[in-house]
């Protein structure tokens, strides 16, 4: 396997809210490899955004890294940098954008409506690359071309409102690229877009990762998008990664009951006239301590031990591991749900 670019080790993130402590991330470990696209999937509130925001020092004021390390290996020839220990904003300025860049969901809110898009991209070039204005402009035009915008000379001096949603997201991507980052975090980059535009943006991301040797973390709740673009998938639930593997591992051989339930509830899987599978209950309250498997209360087939002891990772294959007692050799054999067979056979559309 390729080299690591980032490693989270036993990371814990807490928020203080009205005198109480919320454990948003509960001891998560994760490796990100150079050049890969890693997807993090989970429901709202599972902690997927908070987790990645901590890599850039973007946690809200009441949040803090309470334990663990975030090792960044992107500075060649240097010791790995522990991002969990970076405190001063000045240090973060050197990391944000230049080492790790982020693309948000809504392109309209990430662009300045009062500046031309050319200026906004050039700003990033001048800040992060050691070039003069003429060269910066040349590069800006090139970035615009690279993200698939036509007639760049004219587009350069236009304002965000003159662009469609998909084009705006392309501009946001161009700004991120202009910072020359090693890691690109995309937080629901296509959720606000039409399906045809979404497909184009996903293709663009795949292309750019090679061109600019990026490692990409994609945060999404859309499993279809994940299947399209991700090399590896991490499934997050209640502040923990409960299963991780290659796309094939997760879609064709999901092991954790939560992963299986997520796949089963997809409308793409549904058969008309029958009820769509829906996960009963709600995610656990993260203000209280969680005992055992966090998903157990919503899992009708949970084992007794699921309520008592937190499962460790069980290795399924060299690329695939999951935190569920079902993988313990002593556990009863449980057949995977029908959805798994359906996906394997490719009988979806």
């Amino acid at each position: 396997m390729a080299d690591k670019i980032l490693t989270a080790k036993e990371l814990e993130i807490q928020f203080k809210l009205r005198g109480k402590t919320l454990n948003a991330i509960r001891g998560v470990s994760l490796d990100l490899y150079k050049g890969e696209i890693l997807a993090i999937v989970g429901e709202s509130g599972s902690g997927k955004s908070v987790f990645t925001k901590s890599f850039m020092g973007l946690l809200d004021r009441n949040g803090r890294v309470a334990g663990g390390r975030i090792l960044y290996y992107g500075r060649d020839g240097e010791e790995p940098l522990d991002l969990a220990t970076v405190k001063r904003e000045k240090e973060w300025y050197k990391i944000r954008g230049h080492e790790i860049a982020m693309i948000m969901q809504d392109p309209m809110t990430s662009l300045n409506p009062l500046k031309t898009i050319g200026k906004q991209i050039m700003e990033a070039v001048l800040l992060h690359q050691d070039v003069n204005r003429a060269e910066a402009k040349k590069r800006t035009l090139k970035y615009l071309e690279d993200v698939g915008i036509q007639d760049v000379a004219r587009r350069f001096s236009q304002y965000p409102h003159e662009f469609s949603g998909g084009m705006r997201q392309r501009v946001v991507i161009a700004i991120a690229i202009a910072c020359a980052p090693k890691i690109l975090i995309c937080d629901e980059p296509t959720t606000a877009l039409d399906v045809t535009i979404q497909a184009q943006i996903l293709d663009l991301l795949k292309e750019l990762r090679h061109k600019y040797s990026l490692s990409i973390i994609l945060i999404t709740h859309d499993l279809g998008v994940v299947a399209n673009i991700a090399d590896r998938v991490a499934v997050m639930y209640a502040g923990d990664i409960i299963e991780i593997g290659t796309s094939e591992d997760i879609f064709y051989d999901p092991k954790h009951p939560y992963t299986q339930a997520l796949l089963s509830s997809l409308p793409q899987i549904g058969v008309k006239g029958t009820d769509l599978f829906s996960i009963p209950g709600t995610p656990p309250n993260l203000f209280t301590e969680i005992r055992g498997d966090a998903f157990a209360p919503r899992n009708p087939k949970a084992l007794k031990i699921d309520f008592l002891k937190t499962p460790p990772y069980f290795q399924v294959s060299p690329t695939h591991k999951a935190k569920t007692w079902l993988l313990d050799p002593r556990a009863p054999k449980v057949e995977p749900p029908a959805v798994v067979e359906k996906i394997r056979n490719g009988g979806l559309f």
Partner: protein, 305 residues
């Protein structure tokens, strides 16, 4: 057996803006919705799908054509009695449960507001009962009635929005992207709730969405709309399995499926409206397969089949 047509849209035109900057959002749209069915309107942003829903709700005025509900024209000027009947019988569920509930009103007030406007003489007790029943029907707890919208999650808020529609005992519900703002697991719950309601009360739905995969699960028939024009219409399975119009085919190819191999091998079709050469004659509605209509000119009809 002849099915009863509940709603018919005939040559509907909707334009926005004044004389100088006129924008034609909906162009000569025709369709019928039969009682008890779920009719889907699929299209991308800017296609005019929401405008059609709003024109039926009479939130936006139509500039041409007719909207017939149970055979009576409901667009333009109508009598007071008909107006009241239509308000009661046609209800709407909105996309964003964060934006569509009044933040300052209690759930009880939100749900009963429409009811109080229509049934003016309703007593306090009866109103309370009806609200409670509506809340129970959508799977929430009666004690929620005295709370405010911000105390609820997205899925719960969408249920409140559905309760507000159901309390009117509507015959026809327009659901505009009712699940696109919700989490995957909650989507399934809301879809199931909508189809339960249909089974129990024979409600007819107009379901507006951009996502064909959701449409396939919930609708009986689908119309695909592009730039204000319906380009293809047919029974759901037929339309998805044998999509004919290049725009529909492009939409289908863009749906991401939860199957990595399929996704890696798939070819994305791109629709270019300039491909049509309508210089020799305007395209027409043609029944290219049984019950399956496509907007095409004669040459295209031959090519596409």
């Amino acid at each position: 057996m002849e099915r009863e047509v509940l709603l018919e849209v005939k040559d509907l035109d909707v334009t926005y803006g004044g004389r100088k900057k006129k924008f034609h959002a909906v162009k000569k749209v025709n369709f019928k919705i039969y009682r008890g069915e779920t009719f889907g309107l699929v299209g991308e942003s800017g296609s005019g799908k929401t405008t059609i829903g709003r024109a039926i709700m009479r939130i936006v005025p139509s500039s041409g054509g007719e909207i017939l509900y149970k055979g009576e024209k409901i667009n333009g000027k109508i009598s007071k009695e008909l107006d009241r009947r239509v308000i009661k019988e046609i209800q709407m569920i909105f996309q964003d449960p964060q934006a569509s509930l009044n933040e300052r009103a209690k759930v009880d007030e939100i749900i009963s507001e429409g009811l109080m406007n229509i049934e003016k003489g309703l007593g306090r007790e009866e109103r309370k009962e009806r609200v409670e029943q509506a809340i129970l029907d959508v799977g929430l707890l009666p004690e929620f009635a005295s709370r405010f919208p911000h105390e609820f999650s997205g899925g719960q808020r969408q249920r409140i929005g559905i309760a507000r529609a159901l309390i009117m005992n509507p015959e026809f519900i327009i659901a505009d992207e009712p699940i696109s703002a919700l989490d995957v697991s909650v989507r399934a719950q809301v879809l199931n709730l909508l189809s339960d309601m249909q089974k129990k009360r024979q409600i007819t739905y107009l379901f507006i969405a951009h996502d064909l995969s959701v449409m396939r699960f919930i609708t009986d028939r689908i119309a695909v709309i592009h730039k204000g024009r319906i380009v293809e219409m047919g029974e759901t399975e037929e339309l998805i399995r044998h999509a004919i119009h290049p725009y529909t085919r492009a939409l289908l190819s863009a749906i991401p499926m939860p199957d990595p191999k399929h996704e890696r091998e798939k070819k994305l079709l791109v629709y270019d409206p300039d491909m049509h050469d309508y210089s020799t004659g305007e395209p027409e509605w043609r029944e290219l397969r049984p019950g399956h209509f496509v907007l095409a000119d004669e040459k295209e009809a031959k090519e596409w089949l």
